[in-house]
Every structure is written in C-alpha cells, then in structure tokens.
Amino acid sequence: MKRILIAAACALASGINAAAEAPAAPAVLERPALKTSRAQHMAMLAITRAGARLVSVGEAGVVLLSDDDGKTWRQADVPASVSLTAVQFVDDSTGYATGHMGVVLKTTDAGAHWKTLLDGIRAAELTLKHAQAAHAALPAEADADRVKAADRQLKNAELLVADGPDKPFLGLHFSDADNGFVFGAYNLILRTRDGGKTWTPWNDRVANPRGLHLYGMTSAQGRLFLAGEQGLLLRADADGARFAPIDSPYKGSYFGIERSGDVVVAYGLRGNAFRSTDGGDSWQKVDAGVNASISGAVALPDGGLMLLSQRGDLLVATDPRGHFDLRRAEPPLPLAGLAIARDGTPVAASLAGVQRLAPVTP
C-alpha cells in the first residue's frame, strides 16, 4: 500500500512536471519525409543491402534506394521526418529502421514504402505500463532490493513519459522477420516477437543500472552481445531473456558491435576496437592505428571485416582474427556506415551523403 502511494505521488509529480516542460509531440513524427533533390547530399547515418538493392537512411527521414550499386539514388516514401539511425533487412524485402524520437519503421517492399511501428510517445507509455504492472505484481514477500529495483524502474518510466519523445533509438537487431530488438538512449530497449505488431519493454532485462545509451547488438556463437556507452558490454543467451555484464576491456564508449564468423568486434571512441574469438569471455585490443572514433563495421562477403572511422579511415581485415590494414576512403568522408554493393564497390553513408568509394584491396 505504501509503495502504491509513493508511486502515485511520483506519477503526480512527474505529471505536473510533464505539463510544464514536456514539449508537444514534435510535428516531425507525423510529417512525411521531404522529397528533395539534395537528398543524396544530406547526412546519411546507415546503409545496408536488401538483396541487390542498397538502402541508406539518414537525417530528416530520408531513405535512399539504389538499384545500380550506388550510382543513382531515389528517395523512398517515409512517414516521419526524424533522423534515422540504423537499418536492417531480414530478407530481400522485409526491413526495419530505427530513428530519433523513438521511431521504428518497417518495410515489406525492399524499402520503397515504410510505415511507423512505434514512436517515442508509445514506447514511453508501454514502458510505464510495463513498470507499473511489474510493480503491482511484486509479491508481498519480495525482498528490499527487488522492491527498490521495481521502484526505480517505475520512476524512470514515469520520467520517460514526462520527458516526451526526446530519446532516440540508436540501433536494432532482428534475428528473423518477426523477432528483434530496438534499443537506444538511456537504456531504452523493446522487443517484438510478431514483426513489430506488439512490443515488450526489455529494459528490466538489461543489467544497465546507470541507464547508459545502448549502441549496438549482434549475435555470435549462439549468444547475443549488446554494447553501449562508457564501456557497457552485455551478453545474453540466444533467447535474449536477460542481458548480463561481461568483463569489458575498455572504459570508453562502444559505438557498435559486429561479427564476422565467430569473431565479435566491439568498436568505438577514438580508434578503439576489441575482438573476442571465444564468445565474449576474453577480448583483445585491435591495433587500428587511427585516432578517430570508429563509427561502423561491415562484415565482408568473403569472411573479412571492415571498420570505418569518422575521418574516413577504412580498416580492412581479410580475417578478423588477424591484422587490420589501414586505408583511406577515397574520397575521404566523415563515414557513418558502409555497405558492399553487388559489384564489390564499398558504398558509404556519410555526413556528406551517400557515395561510392574507390575499391579497397586488403
């Protein structure tokens, strides 16, 4: 009873707070992305392949499609104009994308049309409901720590609602067309098991007490890896039921995590990259030889791996267990993402737009 009172008081307090401070739902959530002749030169934040097609996402809800390996591009229909941060295709036609203000999009026609599955307002409501339910479901005999944790979850969820949709999703990981996670700022993470129809808040399954940003997820050797801010490195079994901490080799932030074969590479701030070949039990520093932050990674078709830096460095390894060769992207661009086109050309998503790069030989 006492707990409920506290929760109600918190809700009230944050409710007042919300009325005073929370901005109205930003118009960009509802505004279809502007079709612009300059789309190709806008800041693009991620790029991937949908079968033969290249799909790149970026600022202002711009989604670019290329069917000729990045030579020409056209713009897709997108129902929101927020910055889109990540994109993944589970097959040639079905793909998901995440973005700012809690936006999750889905396409079933290889990127031509997208619809909104989730936004920050709904994500916050879901998280609050989930926290309230968890709180209410606490058994009477629950120990003090569990009560404390549930109280904190509830309070955070209430703040999440009060803040409005200011938190971005920064990444996603789908294992098939139905099952996947979307995650982002301040431990915001949800899971779907039905292709995005319903979402379950997953934040209470993630050992992230400081509410750090979640930047990347990958699966290798039957496990899921989740990397984030300030050295956050978590691991879950294939079912993803609970993400538990593992020993992180780095205190700085990881901007992502990628795998090639059995090798997992977590990368991030100021040229730091670490690899694990044993499913995350041990990690070795990759001598990248760059100072710029590593913004992305792409698994190469022949089993290799390429890392890219924000200053346009390309780190190429034919075998990610071995040495990474340092190359410069030509032209040098502030790289955010990279995909390998059908013809083998690396095509970059960068703050200066999408661009075919000169071929890279390891």
Partner: protein
C-alpha cells in the same frame, strides 16, 4: 506660347532702332541690365568656383540601401545584434608556395591582421581571422567537449605547434569559411562601420581602399598599382630584396567587398575624368566645325562648363558629395547645356546673318527659344526631382544633384549665354555661312532635310508610325526580360577581368561559404531562443531554403544544435538530430558562436549562403522566406527578413523594381504636364511624348541585350534619357507649331523647324552620342555601359524628334486642326504683345522667300 516667330522679328541692323522696352518683363529685366547680369554671374562663378574646389568624392554603404524598406528597417533595428552582417570586407591571404600551415605564412597573416585591425572604420570586436580569439575549435574526447583558439596560446612556429594549428583548423568548422578547402589561403573577415561611432565621421572609402592597396603591395612585394599600371612589364617578384624578405612576397592577397568596389571605382574615376575631357574635346571640335566661329563655340562650351562649376559649388554649399554613381551627372548637365547653348547660338547667328544687330539678335533668340528652353529644362529638373520618391538616398542625392545642375543651366545657358553673345556677337563669316545653310544652300543638308521632310507626308508618316509601333512592341517584349539587380557574379560595375572580379572569382572557387549571405532574423521572447519549437521551426525554414537551386547551404542555431547533440554524445554521428529537449538545447548556448544568437537569447540569425547575387536567386529566397514568415511566425518565434549582404540587396531590388515603374510614371507625368502647359494641345503632347516613350522602351530592351540589370547605379539612366529627349522634342515642336499657327502647312512648318532648331538637334544628338560613345572604352564597366546607353538615347531621341515626331504630327496635328485657331486665336495677340515695335509685322526676308 511664342507663336510669334520669325515673321514678327524684323531685321534691325542698328541698336538705336530697337525698342528696348519691347519684349517680356523678363527680357527687359535681363537685357536692359546686361552688364549687371554679367557681373553677378562673374561673382557667382568666383564664389561657387571657390566652393567647388572643396567638393568631395566618396560613397556610403548606407546611402546605397533603401532604409525605409521593412527588410532594412528590421536589420537596422537589430543591428547591434547583427554585427558583421552589413558592410564587410573579405581579405584572402594566399600562400604562394605550400599551405597556410607554415611559419612564414602565419607570421605574415598576423602582421596583415594587425595592420588591418588598425585601419579606421574597422568594426574591431567583430573582425575574424585565424589569429583572432573568436576563431575557436571544438572537439570530442572521452571526457566530453574540449576547445580553444585555433592558434594555440603557446604557438611558437615550431613544427609541433604548426601541426597543432592544422589539427585545430580541421576541427574548427572553419574550412570553407575562414580557411580554403585546399589549405592554401585563409580569410581575414573585416566588418566595417559606415560612420565612426565616436566622431560620427564618415568612412573615407577612397582613403580606405588606398590603405588596403598599400597593405597589398607591401606584403605581395609588388610595385604599387599606380606604378604597375605605368610599367606593366615589371614582374611581381622582381622587386627589391627587402630585409624582411621572409615575410614579404610570400603571399598573394585577394580583397572583396562593397568598400573595395567603391574604392576601385573612385580610383578609376581619375581615368573617367579623362574620358570627360575627351568628350568635351569632341563636342568642341564638332561645334567649331559646324559654326567655324571661335567666339560662339567657346561661349557655348564655356557657359556649359560654368554650369558644371556652379553645380559643384552649389553641391558643396548644400552639403552634397559626389559618389561614383552620380559622377556622370555633371557630364549630363554639360551635355544638356551644350544642346541648349547650341540652339541659342544658332538662333543668334542666323539673325546676325540676316543683318540684325547682335543685341537685337540675342533678344530675338531669347524671345523665340527661352520658353521652349525653360520648359525643357524645367521638365528635366522636375523629371530628375521625382527620383527623390525612391527610398534610396544615393538616388535621392543624385536627383538633387541633377536638378541643381539643370536649374543652373537656366541661368548659364538660357540667360548668360545670350547676353554674352550680345556682347561678343559672332564672326561675320560664320553668320553669313549659317544663313546660307539655313536657306538650304548646303547640298547635303538640304538632301537630309528633304529626307526628314518626307515624314510629314502620308506615305512616309505611315511607314514611320508603323515601324515605331513595331519597334515599341518588339522592344517591350524584350524589355520584359529586364532583370532587377546584378546579373553577373562579382562586381558588374567593373570589368570582368578587373582585379576585383578576379579576386571575387578566387573567393567563389576557394570558399564554400560565399560572400552572398541572406539572413533571416528570428525574434523570440527573452531567453527563449533555443526552445525546441523555435529551433525546429528555424530548421524547417532552413530545409525549405536549402531546396532552392541558388542556395549553397544554410546555417543557424538549429543546425549547430543538431551537431551539438553529436558533440554531447561523444561525437557519435547517430545523435545528429534536433532533440526535443529544452535543457539539452539550452546548454548549446555556451558553445555557440555569437553570430547565431544574441546576448539575451531573444534573436536568432538564419544564414542562407547563396551561390550568387543574381536577382532570380534573391527572389527565390525572399519568396520562400516571406511565405514562411507569414504562415509560421508565432509569439514564440517571429520570422523577419532580412540582413546580410544579400538580404540588403534583395530589399534594394524590391525597391528598385517598384521604383523603376513609379519613376517612369512620375517623369512622364511631369513631362506631359509641362508639355501641355507649353503647347496647350493634347495632340502636340502626344506627338512629343510618344517618341520619348519609344526611346525608354528600347533603352530597356538595350539593357537586356547588354546584360545589364536595373539597380541603384543604372536606375536613373532612363529618367535622365527622358530628360535629354524632351529638349529635342520641345525645340522642334515649338517651332513647328508656331509655323502652323502662323498659317504654314505642316510640311512647311517642319522644314522651317529643321532649318532653325532641327539642325541643332541633329548636331547635338550626333555630337553628344559620339562623345559618350568613347566611354565604351572606359576601364570602369559601369561607365562603359552608361556610355552606350546614353549614346543610344542621344541618337534615338534625335531620331524620335526628327522622324517620329513629324510622322505623328501628320496624323495628330493636321493643318486644318491647327491653323484656324492657331492663326487667329493664338498668334495674333501674342504677336501684338511681344513685338509692339515691329509695326506692320515686316516679313522676314528669307522666310518669305522660303514659304512663298
């Protein structure tokens, strides 16, 4: 109207036979006190001549802009928060070898920076270069944001600190702004103050420009421009090996900005003056060739030049300055003066040739032509004066300058000249010669006059009118393409290969952020400028503007805030978004440069960098921004246009465009009223004005063909053209109408007008056109363009008066319509009033021979 002409002016060989009480009050007042008038004029010349020595030549940025336009009013109101968005200068210092990350280069840059800093007129707190403390870098580290001045405090020129500078430049966001993309040059950005805030003294552009050239010459180690012009063969690096060779000659300097354009124009004016001298020389030579009389030629030229002298004196007395755009006006005054002076001289010469005494001849001419001349000059003066309706001070000044000049001509060329001629007379040989010419003795002239005479006959009049109509329609169709504003990159006043335009091209090719900046101001309540609603609205407008083909990029607090979110999140690009979180957005203020928002966080500036300053580009931006301001302005965020060089230019274009038509309505309104007062006949007004209108239309078409836009500098030229043309029309038509009203047929009247005033119209039209046509070779493109336009208008107005006017008269001024009333109602009383001494109206011998 003086419908009494030659018929009522008997030949009086001896002064004693002349009734000095005859003529109007004005005539008696002037001619019966000839010595006094000459003395007064002499005194006036001495005094005004002394005043004219002190006339200054300068320009002012603020005089060039329409201060009453809402854009400019907004800009001026928020000027304190918008430093550097008005008049500014960009100096690019280019390394001759290697890059800017070089000790010698940076040392030289520091010295130039310091010298420029000390120049008068520089708005020092807002000056920006690699060496100024306002130029900072920001970087992301594990600990958060780090930052400092681009040139570190402990800079010592060592390779290490040079590497540091390079790294700082790369993370400063100044590449393309202050530093060229190829790292071979960097910019010193110099905002200027039009007036010294302490002393209130106006910036001396010529002096400022000279000082800049001195700096340029010193650091480029090249001879001063004046020297290099004399010795083009001197190689730039061939100068003396100075002791300070390390820093001297290591750089090349490129300078752009309004003040440099004006400086170059003023500099070029010295050459412009030589073109004036040449033009005066040509006119003198032709005039002498025509009259073969030194006395009268010198008097006409002298009086016209005295008019310019008086004009200068009066300008200084009334506190006006000449500027590069009004410098042509004195020449126009001179030209109009010559046109009137030649008419007077011709009239007097013809009378003297008939045997009339010189004083009487002068008085006759005064009687015949004073009113026509006065009307023409008043039409000019009023026509110029209406330019004051244009809300741009430089044009208002020009209007005043031109009006003063034309008013002066009334005294010098309509009064002083005939009086002086009454003293000097003309050479007898010239007088008889002129009479022979008048009596159609000169073969070629008679053929020419016979040709012009054809236009008073049905067939040729029809052809002329139809041709004129076709030209008007065609000209109008072309003139619709007339653009407002600048059509070319750089400074269209200067030649494309001038140093300034080369410098301008250098800037365009090396720097992403152009000098053509349009700024939208966003006013918010105090301390609310970084709220999400405000910034997202600013961002939306920025995105709309970015869609325009003429827009290179935009920058604003909204743009910065997007990147700031990246910065606050360790540089992770995925945070590139305007986050709807007011606390996070507010925190950006501490890192934001002052250009983007004001001290009280109540005013944002949205910078729109344009590819050029063409009228189309500016129109596009204004259209989008204005529509957005109208639909999206709220209490929280009020969008206002406009500041920045292009904002000001856009406002100027809008004012000029409106003024272009208003001006023509007013000028023509004035001309029509004055013509009507003179002729008392609507038909005559139509015949006089339609040819002028054809010239105006064709002049606009010519501007299209020459690729000239209508702008502050070129706007007045059409009004001036009407002023020139109305002289011709009035002189020809007044003599023609007088003839018709005296019972002559249209053809006869016109022929008489041709032999009397028409020949002088022909003479001055061709002469002045030839004189100004030489300007086409001027080093200043503005003068060259004006020369072509004026030459066209001199010639075409002449054709208008000699071909279209009689052709229109054929249809409008039928003999039947004019003669009965003209002869009976108009001429008779005038004749009686004006020439009471000419009892019996002794017929003029040559005329009666002619009309018989």
């Amino acid at each position: 109207m003086h419908s009494d002409t030659l018929a009522t002016h008997p030949v009086i060989a001896r002064l004693e036979d002349f009734d000095t009480r005859s003529g109007t009050l004005a005539e008696r007042l002037l001619f019966n006190n000839r010595r006094l008038i000459v003395l007064l004029c002499l005194l006036a010349s001495v005094f005004l001549g002394w005043q004219s020595m002190r006339i200054e030549l300068n320009a002012s940025f603020e005089k060039m802009i329409p201060t009453g336009h809402p854009f400019i009013a907004n800009f001026l109101e928020h000027r304190a928060d918008l430093a550097g968005l008005g008049n500014s200068l960009r100096i690019a210092v280019e390394a001759r070898d290697g890059t800017i990350f070089d000790k010698t280069y940076l040392d030289t840059l520091a010295k130039i920076n310091d010298e420029v800093y000390l120049l008068p007129g520089v708005d020092r707190p807002y000056m920006k270069s690699l060496w100024t403390p306002a130029t900072r870098w920001i970087a992301v580290t594990e600990e958060g944001l780090d930052g400092g001045t681009v040139i570190p405090d402990d800079y010592d020129g060592s390779p290490d600190s040079l590497a540091q500078v390079q790294a700082n430049v790369q993370r400063s966001g100044e590449i393309g702004q202050l530093v060229a993309g190829n790292f071979k040059s960097s910019i010193i950005f110099v905002p200027l103050l039009d007036k010294d805030p302490k002393t209130g003294e106006a910036l001396d552009y010529a002096d400022f420009s000279t000082q800049l050239e001195n700096i340029r010459a010193k650091y480029e180690n090249t001879p001063l421009p004046a020297l290099s012009r004399l010795k083009p063969g001197v190689a730039p690096s061939g100068g003396s090996a100075a002791a300070d060779a390390a820093s001297v000659g290591a750089v090349k300097i490129h300078i752009t900005g309004f003040s440099k354009i004006v400086g170059d124009l003023i500099d070029g004016l010295k050459q412009v003056l030589w073109f004036f001298v040449l033009a005066v020389g040509i006119v003198t030579a032709v005039l002498y060739g025509y009259t073969r009389c030194v006395r009268s030629t010198l008097l006409v030229m002298g009086c016209s030049l005295v008019a310019v002298l008086w004009q200068f004196g009066l300008l200084h007395l009334f506190g006006y300055q000449l500027d590069p755009y009004s410098i042509l006006v004195p020449f126009l005054v001179f030209a109009i003066g010559v046109s009137h002076g030649a008419q007077k001289m011709n009239g007097i010469m013809q009378d003297i040739g008939r045997g009339t005494h010189k004083v009487v001849a002068a008085r006759y001419t005064f009687r015949r032509l004073f009113l026509a001349g006065l009307t023409a000059l008043l039409a000019d003066a009023v026509g110029f004066a209406v330019l004051t309706i244009i809300d741009i001070q430089v044009i208002q000044d020009l209007a005043a300058i031109a009006s003063i000049g034309v008013a002066v001509l009334i005294f010098t060329n309509l009064i002083l000249l005939p009086i002086l001629l009454s003293f000097t007379g003309v050479s007898p040989k010239a007088a008889t010669r002129s009479l022979r010419a008048e009596a159609a003795g000169v073969e070629s002239a008679s053929k020419l006059f016979a040709f012009f005479g054809l236009f008073t006959q049905r067939r040729w009049a029809t052809i002329a009118v139809l041709t004129g109509l076709a030209m008007a329609i065609g000209g109008y169709a072309v003139s619709l393409k007339l653009q407002v504003g600048d059509l070319d990159p750089g400074a269209p006043e200067l030649r494309p290969d001038s140093r300034y335009n080369k410098d301008s091209a250098f800037m365009v090719s090396n720097y992403a952020a152009s000098a053509d900046i349009f700024v939208v101001m966003i006013k918010t309540p105090e301390d609310q400028c970084t709220r999400y609603e405000v910034l997202s609205s600013v961002r939306d407008l920025g995105r709309q503007l970015e869609q325009l083909p003429g827009v290179e990029s935009v920058n604003s607090m909204a743009n910065l805030s997007r990147f700031a979110m990246v910065g606050y999140n360790e540089g992770n690009f995925k945070w590139l978004e305007l986050i709807p979180n007011n606390a996070a957005l507010g925190a950006v203020q501490t890192r934001a440069p002052r250009e983007l928002f004001n001290q009280g966080c109540s005013l944002l500036s949205l910078y729109v960098y344009l590819k050029d300053h063409k009228a189309d580009t500016l129109n596009g931006v204004v259209e989008v921004a204005q529509a957005y301001a109208q639909t999206h302005s709220t209490e929280q965020a009020q969008f206002m246009l406009a500041a920045g060089s292009s904002g000001i230019e856009a406002a100027t274009n809008i004012v000029v465009k409106k003024a272009m038509h208003d001006m023509l309505y007013w000028v023509y309104g004035a001309v029509i009223i004055l013509c009507f007062v003179t002729f008392r006949s609507w038909r005559a007004v139509v015949a006089a004005v339609l040819p002028l209108m054809l010239t105006s239309v064709l002049c606009e078409a010519l501007m299209v063909a020459l690729g000239m836009g209508v702008k502050v500098a070129t706007l007045p030229v059409i009004a001036l053209g009407v002023g020139i043309g109305v002289d011709y029309a009035l002189y020809v038509l007044s003599v023609m109408l007088a003839g018709q009203r005296n019972g002559l047929s249209l053809s006869e009247s016109y022929h008489r007008a041709l032999t009397f005033t028409g020949r002088v119209v022909l003479l001055t039209g061709v002469t002045l056109a030839a004189a100004v046509a030489t300007w086409a070779f001027s080093p200043i493109k503005f003068q060259a363009d004006m020369g072509i336009l004026l030459a066209f208008m001199f010639v075409w107005n002449m054709f208008g008066a000699l071909i279209f006017l009689p052709a229109l008269a054929y249809f409008l001024l039928k003999d039947k319509a004019m003669q009965p009333e003209g002869a009976t109602q108009n001429a008779a009383p005038h004749a009686a009033a004006h020439a009471p001494g000419a009892a019996g109206g002794q017929p003029n011998a040559p005329l009666s021979a002619e009309s018989a």
